[in-house]
Assembly symmetry: C2
Homo-oligomer: 334 residues x 2
């Protein structure tokens, strides 16, 4: 009554063994290419496998051998290209090694992340990959249980649970500020999105402000919308900001989506970039590189991060923190 009609009786390894006239363990060895068996036996087994359309049952295999080939990945969002890139890298690394990704979306909610971690752990994954270092107390406790390797990605500003692969998040904010200061900008504003959820954006801003403070300056004004980042939010945020502080000479955006929105606003309004107003983003997004004036931003090796995290976690590397660095893209908007 649940629509999952078991019409085609599932073929089991035992049936394959019977059909091939060999023992179960022999079939198992052949299928996993593990242990020794004669060429003749292998052919007999493979013939039976193909004839019966046998599909191995990983569930049973995993239970018997303890240790699955699943890798749990929890990201805050699918829509943000940052996580898409990280996932792509991780997928690449898992390809071939026979691992499968079980993916969950936390929607930037630590409680939801905790839930997802709990249910992933119940699949006894070989590793769990997470974004950032901030997790609930209970999540940390579950993760420290020791069952699975843990890799925290993107941010290395703090202590990790096991593997940490990323870059110095606050430092990207500092670097952005230094870039603007070096170019002579002094009346600097900030346009951002929900910082309580996006803790890494908050860390960037903190770094940015720290660098300003080092130069004896402070943000002239800021506009922070309590919603997820988007092109639209960036555009409207800059609009509001300029209404309040028309004499800004530069704006730091919480990321490139936001900055592109700001850029579009300037285009529409005929605001000269960078002479009248400089823009600085974050992420090194494709679209931000291809606007008529490439947007000044910071590029981070996201695909590499996902790849490296998966690689290290699955290869049994010792607990460590890897700094993959970042790169300031000068662009033409600052």
């Amino acid at each position: 009554m649940d629509g999952r009609g078991k019409t085609a009786a599932t073929v089991t390894l035992a049936e394959v063994a019977a059909a091939a006239g060999v023992g179960e363990s022999t079939v198992s060895r052949v299928l996993r290419n593990h242990g020794s068996f004669s060429a003749k036996t292998r052919d007999r087994v493979m013939e039976a496998v193909n004839r019966l359309g046998y599909v191995p049952n990983m569930i049973a295999g995993t239970l018997a051998s303890a240790g699955s080939r699943l890798v749990g990945i929890v990201v805050p969002s699918f829509s943000n290209i940052v996580f898409a890139d990280v996932l792509r890298g991780a997928s690449q690394a898992m390809e071939g090694s026979g691992h499968q990704a079980v993916i969950g979306v936390s929607d930037y909610d630590p409680a939801r992340e905790e839930e997802l971690i709990a249910s992933m752990l119940s699949w006894r994954p070989a590793a769990i990959l997470l974004a950032g270092l901030e997790h609930t107390e209970r999540a940390r406790a579950m993760l420290t249980g020791g069952g699975a390797r843990v890799a925290e990605m993107l941010d290395i500003d703090g202590p990790g649970l096991d593997l940490v692969v990323g870059f110095a998040t606050a430092e990207t904010g500092r670097a952005s500020a230094r870039h603007l200061l070096a170019r002579g900008y002094r009346r600097i504003g900030y346009v951002g999105h929900d910082l309580t959820r996006d803790t890494r954006a908050a860390k960037r801003l903190a770094g940015f402000e720290a660098a300003l403070a080092d130069a004896g300056l402070a943000l002239t004004d800021r506009d922070i919308a309590p919603v997820p980042s988007s092109v639209e939010v960036g555009r409207d945020g800059l609009d509001r900001l300029l209404a309040r502080a028309p004499d800004l000479d530069a704006v730091y955006f919480s990321n490139d989506d936001m900055a592109v929105g700001g850029y579009f606003l300037c285009l529409s309004r005929g605001i000269a970039i960078p002479d009248r107003l400089a823009l600085f983003g974050y992420n090194g997004l494709d679209v931000a590189r291809l606007t008529p004036q490439p947007i000044a931003t910071i590029r981070t090796p996201r695909v590499r991060i996902g790849e490296l995290a998966a690689q290290l976690a699955l290869s049994g590397a010792p607990a460590q923190t890897v700094d993959v660095g970042f790169e300031v893209i000068e662009g033409a908007t600052a």
Copy 2:
């Protein structure tokens, strides 16, 4: 020697049962809130669960009960927002119902998709969600096995295996052509990306050309780059196309990323839109809606498609094809 040290001995249900002084099946019933048990028993069990930090083993549970709570999803790419949206919708629908997504990326390669389907099937998923209707013969055969529900998403132009949720792909191309024709454009070009891999883009173009043919017209020229779509490829494609056919009055792009690239080229070159050249995209992307002139495009309910596909597949709905439709966005570039 593989780094997956089982330091913390895994707590089993039997241990919880012993600690709580009840039988195993009682613990199982309490944990799944299934069957009957007294409030007192429940408290005793939960206390033991929390004290021991018990994490249920889904692998064992699934094996015992036959029928997993995993849902396999194969998408062509992570980077394309289309699939990110579909995944988001599917995730939403699975949330709460206790299902987990096992996700694989085929990179638009049917052979790779087949491999992924095979390995997902070995996890005995409750359902498999796929993009499009084109699959290898062997993939179709495996899917028809009956073990899992199948939902093919995004495209409904053809026969499906089980559930099909999407819209008429070729018709989107037709609608785009009709829109341009109705506005009086006659010298129309096409800028596209690798059509052998992206079969849905090919179907759109076929529909577009069919509608032109109905009006006694044909594409004036086309530029098809044998690479994945991107803003850059769209920009460069339009550049080449205009070099060859400077008198075009409108261009149809394979999608919005490409169209945004074309739009940026026009901005840089000072090409007046839409008077000198009209642009038409596909996808209804956020960024395309927010350019100074919103790009004419077609919006498809992608999140809804993922959501509906997962919903139907997991609720045991009968095999069917659902047309969720699409919408022409007039924009300001055509």
